[in-house]
Structure formats: C-alpha cells, structure tokens
Symmetry: C2
Subunit: 334 residues, 2 copies
C-alpha cells in the first residue's frame, strides 16, 4: 500500500536485477539463479571468510551507503589479505533497515561497484531482505591462494619477530572524533582519522610476501593488544611489544600530546584493519624488503616469547604498561 506521492518500494528481485546483477562475476549466471559455481584455478585452493557489519555497532546509521558497502566488503577482504589470499568474489546478504529507500540501495551498489573494480572482486550471489531494525550487511568473501600456502594465526613460534602494516590506532581515534571527542587536531589530521574509521584499507598487496615469510597473521579488528592476545593464544606463545615501535600516523602522534587517553585508544581500540604478522628472525630483512617492493609500510614492533598467552607492552623505559581496558586480553594481561 502506498500513499499519494510515495513511490512503491521495489521488491528484492527488482533491486538485485537493477543494482547488483551488473556486478555479477563468472559462474554467477548474472544473479538470475539462486547459486553460483566456483572452481579454483589449477594449483590453487579457496579461502572463505565471513564478517558482518551492523548499523549502530560497526557503522553509523547516517553513514553514506556507499561507504557502508565499501566497509562491509573491505573488512572481509582484509581477512583474505591476512591469510595470504587474493579476492575472487563474494556473497552479499543485504539486510535493509528501517528508513531504507531505493536511493539508499543505489548508492550502496555504487560504492560496492567502485571497490569491486579496485580489488578485482565480483558479486557471486546473495540475498536482500528487510530487518525491521538496523541495516546489516553480511558478506562472505571467497579468495584464492596457492595450495598449501594458507597463513593461519596458529603458526607463530616463541622466537619469531612481530610486525604490523600501516599505522595503528587511527580508526579508533577517528571513532572518538566521530563521537564528538575534541582531540584538538588540525582539520587535515581530523579528516585523516575520520577517513581511516570509515574506509578500511585491506592490505592485499602484502599477500605474496606473507605467504613467503610469515609464520602467522591476522588482521587487527578488535585492537592491537586484544588481537595480539588472540594470536598468542592460538599459537601457544607469548608476545612483547615495544610501544615506541608501534607505527603511528602524524594525526595519531599529535593526539598523544593533546588527549590523555590517546595511547590506550591507539593500542586497544578497534577497526584498524592493519595486519599483525609474525615471521622468523631469519626472514626479517627479506620480509621488510618485500613489503617495500609491494608499496606497503611494514614495521617491526616486538618479539614472540615462550611465555604462553602473555602479551606485554613495554614503555620507553622497558617497563610493562598497564591500561584500564585491554580489550579481550585483560584477563590474561599481567
């Protein structure tokens, strides 16, 4: 039932045909069927991962639909990157929340198309439905990797070195800015942090170097320290991270001088989508060189230890730092 002046809302099939079929990949039959066929190239295997984003939790309801689409896809591409895989395609479950209209879907699809082109991924299928509540985008990404080259989070050894890509903490600080916290930054610094929260950068270009050198890897979505704790638990090792080595953007560095909780936010806040990597010391030089050749910043931040499940951050004086909130690692942190 529509009231005068109100456009009837298109149904699921219209939306898919109009906005998502143009993004369909090989094997997806133009999204005219309920499924897609997939075969890895000879010598390759698939890597499958699934992460959902929800309005009010992972993004703001008022975020541009195009950036919601890009974040939903990128958090999954980030997981593929962490496993050393390259993207093939993805299944999209689009849960339309209260207040959706066709313009929302159109802009969402435009953002998706932009990133499909950037990253060489295509839509393999999916499902569109109304949630009666928040917007929910649940993506299942499928990547490809040479057989036997999967990089898990279970393989770190007690004497491995620890690395991280890019810069840490920008997105968590961006979220603070977004929520109204005044970090006393200049506009371009504020914009940098806001953008890092809104649009993650999956580090797919590092995948080949990871496959060559890494013993373990995961992407940092729940904060550097919390995720370091998870990697240490999964690999049965400990970790010592030097706070002074953790790579910071200029904006994050400025915030250290202007906002007291900045360091804690940087080390424990979420949404970085950088990669946390371990590799044998013997590979350090080559790994750093390969990262440079891939055009990515890679920084050595610490060492694995035999102290199973214990993750420590040392300050400039080599003393363990303590934070009110350590994310998911607080129970094990000593």
């Amino acid at each position: 039932v529509t009231t005068p002046g109100q456009q009837p809302k298109p149904d699921e099939f219209d939306l898919i045909a109009r906005y998502f079929a143009p993004l369909a990949g090989e094997g997806a039959l133009g999204l005219k069927d309920d499924a897609a066929t997939l075969l890895p190239r000879p010598g390759f295997e698939f890597v499958v991962t699934k992460d959902a984003v929800v309005s009010g939790i992972h993004f703001f309801p008022e975020d541009a639909p195009s950036s919601v689409a890009r974040k939903a896809l990128r958090v999954n591409l980030s997981d593929l990157a962490a496993k050393g895989a390259g993207p093939v395609g993805f299944m999209l479950a689009l849960g339309l929340g209260n207040g959706w209209d066709e313009a929302w879907v159109k802009e969402f699809a435009q953002g998706l198309e932009q990133d499909c082109q950037s990253f060489g991924a295509s839509v393999l299928g999916g499902d569109t439905f109304r949630t009666g509540g928040p917007f929910i985008v649940s993506v299942t990404a499928i990547g490809e990797i040479p057989q036997g080259n999967y990089v898990s989070r279970l393989g770190a050894n007690a004497d491995d070195e620890i690395f991280v890509t890019g810069s840490v903490g920008d997105a968590a600080l961006g979220l603070q800015v977004r929520m109204g916290q005044n970090l006393q930054l200049v506009p371009h610094e504020r914009d940098h942090l806001l953008d890092r929260y809104l649009i993650p950068q999956p580090r797919l270009d590092l995948a080949p170097a990871l496959r060559s050198h890494a013993s373990a890897c995961m992407d940092i979505s729940d904060g550097l320290l919390g995720d370091a704790q998870k990697l240490a638990n999964a690999s049965d090792c400990g970790m010592v991270i030097e706070a002074k080595s953790v790579p910071l953007s200029d904006a994050a560095r400025s915030s250290l001088n202007t906002w007291q909780p900045a360091m804690e936010t940087i080390l424990t806040g979420g949404d970085d989508y950088e990669l946390l990597i371990t590799a044998p010391a013997s590979r350090k030089a080559e790994f750093l060189r390969d990262a440079v050749e891939a055009g990515l910043s890679l920084t050595h931040i610490g060492q694995c230890t035999k102290n199973t499940g214990h993750v420590e951050v040392l300050d400039c004086d080599g003393k363990p730092m303590q934070f009110q909130s350590m994310g998911y690692c607080h129970t094990d942190y000593t």
Copy 2:
C-alpha cells in the same frame, strides 16, 4: 555491567568456542582462525548459495532456537539440492536479537548440530553479533557437484515436462494455522502443516537424478506459481500447470473442503522448499523411476510452452484459474 543475580553474557569468542567450534569442518581450523580453506575433490566444482532468515519475517520470534537453526540451514541446503549439488559446509552469520541469552545460543547450536549430522555438513566459519533488533541468521552454504553438472533455472525448453517433489502448499497452510486461522482440521493434520512450516525438507536425495535428467530446477520458496513464473522468465518459456495434478498432502486436501482460500494459499503461498523441475519428455519415465529409487515423491504437473513468460494454471475443466494474489507473477499472469 551486570546487575546482581544476572549472569554476564559471554562474548562472541566464548560463544563460538563453546557452541560452534565442535561443529567445525575440515579446513576450518576449529574456528580458531578468521577463515577456512576449501578445495573441491578432483572432478568436482563448488556451488555457493546464500539465504538469510529473519525473525518476524521468516520465523516467529518465539520459535524454538533449534528449529530456527535448522530452518536457516535447510533453506540453503534446499538451494544446493535444486542445483544438483551435495552439501560440504557453510558459513554462519548469527545476528543475536533483543532478548537473546546463552541458553538461546546453546539450543540454536544443538539444532544446528543435529542437522549437520543428518546432512553431512559442517561449520566452516562465521560471525556472531548483536543486531539490536530481530534475530537474523545468514548462512552461506557451499556444496559440491561433478564439474559441468550444475542445474540452473535457465535451461527449460518450450516442450519440456514440469515436475514437483513432495507435496505443495503445506507450509503456507501451516503458517495460516500458526497465525490463528481455523482450518477445521484434525490434530495430526494441523501438526503436519505446522511442522512443514517450521522445518523444511531439503530434497538432497534427488540431486543425482536432477543432474541426469533435469533441464532446469529451482526450489519453491515464494510459492509454486510465483516461482514457476521466475523459472519461465529465466528460461524464456511459458508454463501450463494442471491444478488437479499438483501433489497435496492429506492435510492440504482436507483444507480444500473446509477453508475457501486453501487452493490459492497452496498454489501461491511460500515456504514449500520442494523442487520445481523441468525435463525433456523423453526423460520422463526414467526420471520418475530414479526418484522412486531415491525414495522421493516426484509428480508430473504440467508442460512448458512457447508462450514466453506466461504461466497458466488450469482447473479440472481445463480453464485458466485466476487468483487475487499470484505472488510475484501477477503482472505477467493473463
């Protein structure tokens, strides 16, 4: 923050480790990583499909969590069956709605485990989050099929025969019963309809016969006539279906005598999860025989035609039937 007497709710990682890791399949690393690796057996390819179920739309908020889990999985297995594929595993996005507690998740996982065992599927990974609204279960199912044997909905020819598995309309009538409609049925008939709405039966046992004989197939989720329209559109053909041939359960047949809208509900209501199949006339006898051998009921219900996009249902006198609601086919129905 918890109030006295209230159990703290376990976080995502606790829930996954406690309830879903025991269901993890090969390549899923016990759900300790963010992804899984997958390689089809030699000579096979993957079939991927994705359907979500949402409380208040696809199931009732008060439904037993175990039946929600089973429905969420089975609607996806039904899509695999329709493509001629067998299940391998699935990715699970579990959106916990308002009012969830650990007991809900536990019972959900129990239902999932039961069906994982019944159907030989395993959990490959997933994601758990709070929706702040309804419960949403978004499953991506991965199946396997001999290379080149995928059964699409695009391949029906103008002189093919039309078949359907099982019985049609039970779930739609079950939904009516569930919503309080008195169909004046005896208790075991009511229970049959209610159960058919709650727990779909994916017709996986028919997959080998489909691959041998079918020209096109899809599962009926939006009503026989609406889905016949979709298949006809996708295959560029028309369809004539004889209402008297459509297979009905005893309960559905009883309802025809007691509730005037029963026939329309049976032919246009959703949630059947039976298979709608086309096959060449030359294959009819063999297809019916193979279905019997697979232990499945298969019924011939009509013929494809050259009348592109036109789906007709004929009554006992051979006259086209008209319904108030034809589901998604109403605009093309003449």
